[in-house]
């Protein structure tokens, strides 16, 4: 066969073959030439991603032999794409013409050997070619080149569409809903690859998911595949879970049943008896899919991802959200960031679905540990905590325990978190006047030590109400008028050339306990006065970052000129009693 070099030549050659096949049935064998190019591409893909499904295609290997002559370098992705396009056009035309066998497909050999009519033989044979083409295309979904993958996907979806319109099986009764389940399942399986990260391809696939029927069948197919894969392998690879999650999270149901359902496969008339039409069925499928997915032991990172989208895109669409209770409570018990994330879902269940959760606040209390101010989900957690503690029916001991614990934790928090948590505590005290003893207890006795027990997990027994928020206290005059003499940091000035007489100027150290950041110390000093009535909205403070604080500080205008250090600099490390000079040397 004559072929020009390069992709142009390939296109021309394939074009000729295509014309020939479509023009007369006599030239049908040219199909093999087209498929051959695909075959090589698919093999290359298999070579890249060696997988278990390679063996399944053993039966079709026979077809490979004649086309080996076509081109030794047909791995070229350009050529493969040409071949895919040609196949697409060819079988689309054949499907539309109805030149493929309809019904249960008999085996190729028996038909060819049998004595049926030539047309039937041709149709069966062609259907077999179509079948093998689909298999090739599915294998191409694992090709190394993204263009090929994309093209293969779109071609397969076109087949799905055409097959839906011209079904290859006989309807069991009139008006029966027909969908190319086999083909579509194969597509989904190709998408949920075990080896490659298909997130790009899945994002392409996402646009098909807008159609009701595709979404429905995707959910069904995904459920099946997850079950099958999980059963087959003891240790399911991480990429599969990742792909599955990407696919699952891409499925989003409409909030309400809408009348105009969009179908990918065009139907002349929609029947109300079809399951696909009803949102309820979609919800059921959705629920099955997620429950089936979450049933398995997932990697830890994936749990986080699931929990992040749980409240927003999973729970509202489940037919029975209460089925998530087990999963969420388990996640809540795990501790750490996962617990934080599970809170949101739990809250929805408690709030909207009557979930009784006896130790909810106790566990919430347990979640408060020093890392809470450093984790990524800080804003989310405090938003929810604000919500949980906003009820005025909470017992005072509980709120007091929270306030005390938070202020204790604030001793290790960075300024941006402090700016948020201090108003938070003040809001708690405002909402629950009974807790004001924490900041205002004029009749209390002097205590030897803080009665609050930080290790106690039960807020009821933490004795927070007997305590006070000493952590927040900003200023307290030092009991002794002079600082401890051994303090190396207290800088004493010897002024002027009067070496004998030292004027100690920092004697009046007021022992101001202050945070180094002015805004924080101002926020903390709020408790020194009686609290104002209105609450402070912490919403704008939740997302505050240190960089924003920094920018704000830089932009703040100074009215007068900048104050200057009046002790002259002497060197890089500063004066001799500076810590830097004590502990570091220049050489």
């Amino acid at each position: 066969m004559e072929r020009g070099p390069g992709p142009d030549g390939a296109r021309r050659a394939l074009g000729c073959l295509l014309e020939a096949v479509l023009a007369s049935r006599g030239e049908a064998n040219a199909v093999f030439d087209i498929l051959a190019v695909l075959q090589v591409g698919a093999r290359a893909a298999e070579g890249v991603g060696e997988g278990p499904r390679g063996s399944r295609e053993g039966g079709s290997r026979a077809e490979q032999s004649p086309q080996a002559r076509l081109s030794p370098q047909s791995e070229d992705s350009e050529e493969i794409r040409e071949a895919v396009r040609a196949c697409g056009r060819l079988f689309a035309a054949l499907l539309e013409r109805g030149e493929l066998f309809v019904g249960r497909l008999p085996s190729e050999d028996s038909v060819l050997a049998g004595s049926q009519g030539a047309t039937r033989k041709y149709k069966v044979w062609m259907r077999h070619r179509y079948h093998s083409c689909c298999n090739r295309l599915r294998e191409l979904l694992a090709h190394s080149s993204f263009e090929v993958k994309e093209l293969a996907l779109s071609t397969l979806m076109r087949f799905v569409q055409l097959e839906g319109v011209h079904p290859l099986e006989k309807p069991k009764w009139d008006g029966c809903y027909l969908f190319p389940h086999q083909l579509f399942k194969a597509v989904v399986e190709g998408l949920l690859s075990l080896e490659d990260d298909c997130s790009l391809l899945l994002s392409q696939f996402r646009e098909y998911l807008e159609h009701d029927d595709i979404r429905y069948h995707t959910m069904q197919a995904a459920t099946d595949i997850v079950v099958r894969v999980a059963n087959r392998y003891l240790e399911v690879p991480f990429t599969f879970w990742n792909n599955a999650f990407t696919l699952l999270s891409a499925v989003s149901l409409p909030r309400q049943e809408c009348n105009t359902s969009s179908f990918y496969v065009k139907h002349a008339k929609l029947s109300q008896t079809w399951k696909v039409v009803h949102l309820k069925e979609h919800r059921k499928a959705f629920q099955l899919m997620w429950l089936g997915f979450l049933k398995h032991e997932l990697p830890l990172g994936l749990y986080k991802k699931v929990l992040v989208i749980m409240h927003d895109s999973i729970l509202p669409h489940l037919a029975q959200p209460s089925l998530m209770i087990d999963f969420l409570t388990r996640a809540y018990d795990m501790g750490g960031a996962i617990s934080l994330l599970a809170l949101n879902g739990l809250f929805i269940l408690i709030h909207q679905h009557n979930l009784e959760y006896p130790d909810f606040y106790r566990k919430l209390y347990g979640l408060l540990d020093p890392s809470i101010f450093h984790v990524k989900y800080r804003a989310r957690f405090f938003h929810l905590a604000d919500l949980f503690l906003s009820s005025s029916h909470l017992p005072a001991y509980l709120v007091a325990a929270f306030a005390k614990r938070l202020s204790r934790l604030a001793l290790t928090a960075p300024p941006e978190a402090l700016l948020m948590v201090l108003p938070f505590i003040c809001n708690l005290l405002r909402r629950h006047p009974a807790c004001r003893v924490l900041v205002h207890h004029p009749l209390g006795h002097e205590l030897d030590s803080d009665p609050f027990d930080p290790e106690e997990g039960n807020p009821a027994e933490s004795r927070a109400l007997e305590s006070s928020l000493w952590e927040l206290q900003v200023s307290m005059l030092c009991a002794s008028p002079t600082p401890p003499p051994s303090l190396p940091g207290s800088r004493c000035f010897c002024l002027g050339p009067l070496p004998r007489k030292r004027v100690v100027m920092c004697v009046l150290l007021q022992a101001l306990q202050q945070h180094y950041h002015p805004e924080v110390s101002q926020a903390a000093s709020v408790i020194n006065q009686a609290l104002s009535v209105s609450e402070i909205s912490i919403a704008p403070l939740l997302e505050l970052t240190a960089f924003e604080i920094f920018e704000r500080n830089l932009k703040k205008k100074c009215q007068e000129s900048v104050p200057l250090q009046f002790i002259p600099a002497q060197g890089l490390l500063g004066l001799q009693d500076d810590l830097c000079a004590q502990h570091f040397t220049l050489s």
Binding site: H374, A410, L411, T412, P415, V437, L438, V439, H440, H441, H445, S449, D450, S468, W470, Q473, P484, L487, P488, G489, C494, L495, G496, P497, L498, P499, V503, C506, L508, L512, Q513, Q514, H515, Y516, H517, P518, S521, I527, Q529, T545, A546, I549, L554, K556, V562, P563, L564, Q565, F566, I567, G571, L572, L573, G574, Q576, D578, H583, F584, T585, L586
Partner: protein, 887 residues
Amino acid sequence: MGKARLAAFRRKGSGAPAGAQSGRARPNPNPFEVKVNRQKFPVLGRKARHAVGQPGVSRARAVQKRTQTLLKEYKERDKSNVFTDKRFGEYSSSMSPEEKMMKRFALEQQRQHEKKSIYNLNEDEELTHYGQSLADIEKHNDIVDSDSDAEERGTLSAELTAAHFGGGGGLLHKKTLQQQGEDEEKPRSRKELIEELIAKSKQEKRERQAQREGALELTEKLDQDWKEIQTLLAHKTPKPENRDQKEKPKPDAYDMMVRELGFEMKAQPSNRMKTEEELAKEEQERLQKLEAARLRRMRGEDMHGDSRKPKHLSADDLNDDFVLDKDDRRLLSYTDGKMSVEEEQSREASDGESEEDHHEDPSDENLEESSDPDGHSDLDSDTETEEDCGRPDTEPRLAPQKRLANNGHKAREAARNELPYTFAAPESYEELKSLLSGKTMEEQLLVVERIKTCNHPSLAAGNKAKLEKLFGFLLEYVGDLATSDTPDLGVIDKLVVQLYNLCQMFPDSASNSIKFVLRDAMHEMEGSVEARGRVAFPGLDVRHRQRETQAPCREPDVGLDPGSPGSRPGLQLIYLKIAGMLFPTSDFWHPVTTPALVCMSQLLTKCPVLSLHDVVKGLFVCCMFLDYVSLSRRFIPELVNFLLGILYIATPNKHGQGYTLVHPFRASGKNSELLLVSDEEDTATWQRTGLSLRWASGLKAQTKTEANHTRLSCLAVCVALVKHCVLLYSSLPAFHDIMRPLRALLTEHLANRTHPPELQELCQSTLSTLTDMGKQSQRCRPLVCEKSKPVPLRLFTPRLVKVLEFGRKQGSSKEEQERKRLIHKHKREFKGAVREIRRDNQFLARMQLSETLERDAERKRKVKQLFNSLATQEGEWKALKRKKFKK
């Protein structure tokens, strides 16, 4: 009764416009002729125009006027011929009576001249005044009462005044009254009158002149006499002078006081040279003042000032928090007896002064320097100032510097041949770099010094900007030095002093450039946090880290990869340090140091500790942090966390109780035993030394032993810092809670016997201090809120709107107002006109009535007369008849 009378009054007279004037003319009017208009409200300061009306007078005037005009017209109503006065200017109101007279006189003369005396050459016409011949007056036979004139000096005689200003009419009238007989000679007398007038004024003038001459003569004579006597009275001169002064208005005590004060100021003697002690004392006072200002800023009193002070709330305060932004009223004061407006300084006296001091000091020095060509004095003065405020134990440190200066002197002798004396200020960073590169430390310092001297702001106008730029370039240069492969920390060490001096000169631009550097660094850090979720610990300088797109050095162990770009100096550690030296770190809020603090906090929380370098850098940041707050003693949670983490990575990993690690550290993992030293030999040979800053800038550990030694040093520094923190925060109420995790870890360290004895000891002492301080710290007293004052009720003052006009005219546009005014005026005029017409009609009716009555009376009289005569006739006739009968 009273009401009726009032009504009667009113009826009597309505509208007496010139009542007040006529009242003035007649000071004691008959109270029954006066109508008093009652005022509703007495208003102070308002003149009541129509308080008193005189209806009788005004009516009389009105009637008189009508008689003259209306009645005249009425009487001439049926007459066709008109009497016209053809005298010149009789009806022209524009001419004054004198003018009229003059003109008439001239016309008359002309007429006479034409008619009669064309040929009469000799006969002079006789001029008259008031009918008297002026020729007679010339002869002074009729001197008009000169005696009385002399008596009332300076005032014109009544006659003269009347003649000049009152017009001739009055006088004429008077004259006619006086001399009724001479009426025929009217034109003559007028001429005489004028002549008399002229003569009189001339005479008066002459008299005045004579008097003046006489007075002058007398004064001269008196002076001469005085001179003669003066010699006799020489010793008693002050007295008469005093007497003279007494005539002046005596200045009051206040003015005298002001004068005196003014003179006192001027008279102050110039300051004498101060002794050493006094100078020292002054310096001490200055520092005390600065320290006081610093303390104030540290407590943030400037910020809280308004909230802490009991704010004055006036009763009229609307509680809307409206405050005048700035009270820019100037205080009035007097200097040298003149009023002057005091500057605002008094408010921030100490602050302003301190800054002025800052500004002045270096400039003074520099002025001296500029006069001194080879720039020795600056070094001397520098050392002097250092001596001034350094305390004795810093002196040994200074001494070598001095020596260095002396050595440098010799070295410079040699270098002077190469170094030019003047340098243009560099316009770009490259310029500065080319100036400084390749020179020794001393030379570099000298170059910078000379640039500074040659471009002192007092020398030329643009120098200020140049030096401000120089600060930025130097900063960049320092950064470059720190970044270079072999960081030249010595040069930086010295350049810091220059930076300090420049900063003292231009605080604003210096703060801006440091802020700029910090912002750059933070932006970069933010970017990398967002991109990778973490950020590498910066080195001594940061901004150049972008060029090296490296992963942070990950080697946990000895093999601190020599070429690893991660070990290259990064961020602004050096800039942070410099910022702390240039600006006060203890301020409650400061435009530079507060962002720097945030920056350090970010370094301690965001940068993971992955290598020994990171530990050293982190410890350096900790030291800086503690130095920043050493005066203000503020609490730094991040620092405590960091130290906890460092202590943790020096222990073998087994999670103990009582502490939780936070972000940059993890309880387990790759770097969780970074500082653990297991080699006993290294432990034994370790000596406690200061950590080298070169570690932070990428020093590589040569051997494993060296690395281990560094680890131990790090740990020692860490424990020392913990101890420092313990002392620093011992007064905090939450001291126990802050220190609990540290205490737990330290106990663990003590339990670990593998540490060298010195370190053990340090741990032990820290722990014991911790316990002591814990015991010392006061007991927990429950919190009590500050009592707040009850909030006063809101009081509302009425809204005051200035009303300029009353009535309906208010509140419309200008045109509308004008229109309304005109309408109003028209209405009033119309009413007035109607009233006038009505009165005229009444007057006419009255006149007609009186005419009719008169006519009737006349007729009656005539009829009576007729009847009378008839009766008489009849009587006579009857009598005659009777006589006849009798006869």
